[in-house]
Amino acid sequence: MEQVPLLHVLILSTTIFFLGMYGFFARRNMLMILMSIELILNSVNINFLAFNHYLYPHQLEGLFFSMFIITVAAGEVAVAIAIIINLYRRFNTVDIEDTNTMKY
């Protein structure tokens, strides 16, 4: 079976990464921003797996790291959602531009 070339995978992960970046900077809904962060993390996961698979097929570090990231991401999502819910209770909105009281 013909393997998908590494470059294609990297293009995919880069695309996902920048989609995430775009979402992170441009979206105003906090949940969307959170999803964008997930996208960024997942693009990193893809990178790890791809490099592991193509360059060092006999090692497992890449797999381990992506497992780490998934776990941490789960925790992070839990905390983030908690924050967002609290903010929602306080401001009645999940629009990030309306919750800008943490300043000077």
Binding site: F24, F25, I33, I96, E97, T99, N100, T101, M102, K103, Y104
Partner: protein, 649 residues
């Protein structure tokens, strides 16, 4: 009793009495406080007479020259190897004469005040201040060291301040006290800088060493100070002496620093008699006399300044005295004029045989003047005590009501006018003959002034005791007899005796510039003009004021503007007020305060505002918008990354 011990008691008894009276204050009864003051001063007088007798007749002279003795001398504060303040007692003819004068007059005033100040609220403090003054004045005249003199100089200044301000609830008294202190303080600045200049030049503060080093023309100190840098054509030495003289001029109320003395009459009258007539105000004369060898030998140009300032002041003050209507002010201007006599008498004196007559004459006049001027003030005090007013308009015809005051006052007037056989005649004659030999211009001024003196003194006398009867409805209901008692009469009588007899002392035997014993020459031909002028003055006063008439008014009007000028003291006070209030306060003080609040403080506040402003402008970055932060973060990462790539490529 040995000399050191008696001198220590003499000096410290008044201090002890001051401390005792001021610390115990109201706990003492007034009578007890007065008694303590009088008793301690009587002891001081006896001791100073003993000292004078001992000095002049027993141990003072060696081969007919009086020695400078320093029986007591302690180092008090050492500045460096050469300069130190020593406290001690210097006995020489002038200091011994001053001891006698001060203690005697002070005792008289203490006794007199017993009655005069009776019933005053702060009677005890009054006696305490008098004791403080006496202590300071005694310390001043026996000073062994320039700084000792300066110390006591300031102390007499402050005692004078406290006594002028004795009625401290009265605004005019407060103003007068402040004025007296500040004007003399200003003059003392000159004294202080003079001390610095001279002590630096001679490398000593000790009077004995100083005079030794600076009065020998060949000594290295004299040469160093009189050559070298000059300022306005005068050497450092001359400037040093002139600065010291400015200090003396302030205390002795020489023109233009005389303005405080007439106002100082706000103090109780006995105080005026003691401080502002007989003792403190002659301190300037004493100071110049103390440094006389340096003046006469090393800096005759400085001595000339003394002579002209003195002569001008004598005339100037006499002119004002003729126009004043407050009797204490007349006496005050007369005091200024008489002290100026002493001053120019020193100024016209020189060094060496035949020239130093002026020195003896000056101290002689100081001596006689102390008695008759104190008597005049105490007499005026008795008059004021009786009529409760200082103004001539409230007086007249008092000779029957106050017989003792009348006769003693008359004796004093005769003495000050220079009528023969009274003390003032002898001393004034000596001064005039000294002036005649040295400087005809000053002689002329002095002669004219002595006529004026006779005129204004007898104007005062006739106006108080003759003229027309004053209206008795003065509100106080003063019963027409001498309300005062022995305590006021005894000093008057004793002083009258002294005012008459002091002239018969052969003064030249005791005091002369080189401390040898000389005969003060009496020049009959020179005695005639002043006596004649004096008699004319008295005659004019008699014509004008023995009865109520319009002659004086006519003359006054014929002088016109000049009279008005003199009456307003030539507007010197106004000039001072202008300079202090307008110039110093508004042009220096106010801008300084403004500068401080606005510029200096503004700079401090400004740096604070700049900090605040810049933080205000950058705080906008912290918008609270998380996405913006992330963008900055991204930008930062990009910049750092590109830099790293650029450098490590």
């Amino acid at each position: 009793m040995n000399v050191e011990l008696s001198l220590l008691i003499l000096l410290f008894l008044p201090l002890v009495s001051f401390l005792f009276l001021s610390l115990n204050g109201k706990r003492l009864s007034p009578a007890l406080a007065g008694m303590i003051g009088i008793a301690s001063l009587s002891v001081v007088t006896v001791l100073s007479l003993i000292t004078a007798y001992g000095y002049f007749f027993e141990y003072g002279s060696v081969a007919d020259v009086y020695q400078k003795l320093e029986p007591i001398k302690y180092e008090w504060l050492r500045f460096n190897e050469n300069l130190s303040i020593d406290l001690g007692v210097l006995l020489d003819p002038i200091s011994v004469v001053m001891l006698v004068v001060i203690s005697f007059i002070s005792t008289m005033v203490h006794i007199y005040s017993w009655n005069y100040m009776h019933g005053e609220e702060r009677f005890q403090m009054y006696y305490a201040y008098l004791s403080l003054f006496t202590f300071s004045m005694l310390g001043l005249v026996v000073a062994v060291n320039m700084f000792q003199m300066y110390i006591f100089w300031e102390l007499v200044g402050v005692s004078s301040f406290l006594l002028i301000g004795f009625y401290y609830t009265k605004q005019s008294a407060i103003a007068a006290a402040k004025k007296a202190f500040i004007v003399t303080r200003f003059a003392d600045l000159g004294f202080l800088v003079g001390i610095l200049l001279m002590s630096n030049g001679a490398q000593t503060l000790d009077f004995g060493v100083l005079i030794e080093r600076l009065s020998v023309p060949s000594s290295p100190f004299t040469i160093a100070m009189s050559t070298g840098a000059t300022f306005m054509g005068m050497s450092a030495l001359a400037w040093g002496l002139i600065l010291v003289f400015i200090g003396g001029a302030g205390k002795s109320a020489m023109f233009p620093l005389h303005i405080w003395l007439p106002d100082a009459m706000e103090g109780p009258t006995p105080v005026s008699a003691l401080i502002h007539a007989a003792t403190m105000v002659v301190a300037g004369v004493f100071l110049v006399a103390r440094l006389f060898p340096i003046f006469a030998i090393s800096a005759p140009d400085a001595l000339e300044v003394v002579a002209y300032v003195g002569a001008f002041t004598a005339l100037f003050a006499a002119v004002i005295a003729t126009t004043q209507t407050d009797i204490k002010r007349v006496l005050a201007y007369s005091t200024i004029s008489q002290i100026a006599y002493m001053m120019f008498s020193l100024g016209v004196a020189g060094w060496g045989e035949g020239h130093n007559e002026g020195y003896t004459a000056s101290i002689f006049h100081l001596f006689t003047h102390a008695f008759f001027k104190a008597l005049l003030f105490l007499g005026a005090g008795a008059v004021i005590h009786a009529v409760h007013s200082n103004e001539m308009a409230d007086m007249g015809g008092l000779r029957k009501k106050l017989p003792i005051t009348h006769y003693t006052f008359l004796i004093a007037c005769l003495a000050i006018a220079g009528v023969p056989f009274f003390s003032g005649f002898y001393s004034k004659e000596a001064i005039l003959s000294a002036a005649f030999h040295d400087n005809k211009l000053i002689y002329g001024v002095a002669l004219f002034t002595s006529g004026l003196t006779a005129f204004y003194m007898f104007r005062l006398y006739f106006r108080i005791f003759w003229y027309k009867e004053a209206k008795a409805d003065h509100g106080h209901g003063h019963d027409n007899h001498e309300s005062h008692t022995w305590a006021m009469n005894i000093p008057l009588i004793l002083l009258a005796i002294a005012a008459f007899g002091a002239g018969y002392i052969p003064f030249g035997h005791f005091v002369s510039a080189d401390r040898s014993q000389v005969e003060l020459p009496f020049h009959l031909e020179l005695a005639i003009p002043p006596v004649a002028v004096g008699l004319i003055g008295i005659l004019i006063a008699y014509m004008f004021f023995v009865k109520e008439n319009v002659k004086a008014l006519n003359v006054q009007q014929s002088f016109g503007a000049f009279y008005k000028w003199a009456y307003n003291k030539f507007y010197i006070d106004e000039i001072y007020l202008f300079v202090t209030k307008k110039v110093l306060f508004n042009l220096v003080g106010r801008p300084a305060a403004w500068f401080d609040r606005t510029i200096v403080n503004g700079m401090i506040n400004g740096s604070a505002s700049i900090t605040a402003f810049s933080s205000e402008s950058i705080k906008k970055i912290q918008s609270g918008n998380v996405q913006t932060y992330a963008l900055y973060f991204l930008g930062g990462v990009l910049v750092v990354t590109s830099l790293l790539i650029y450098y490590f490529q």
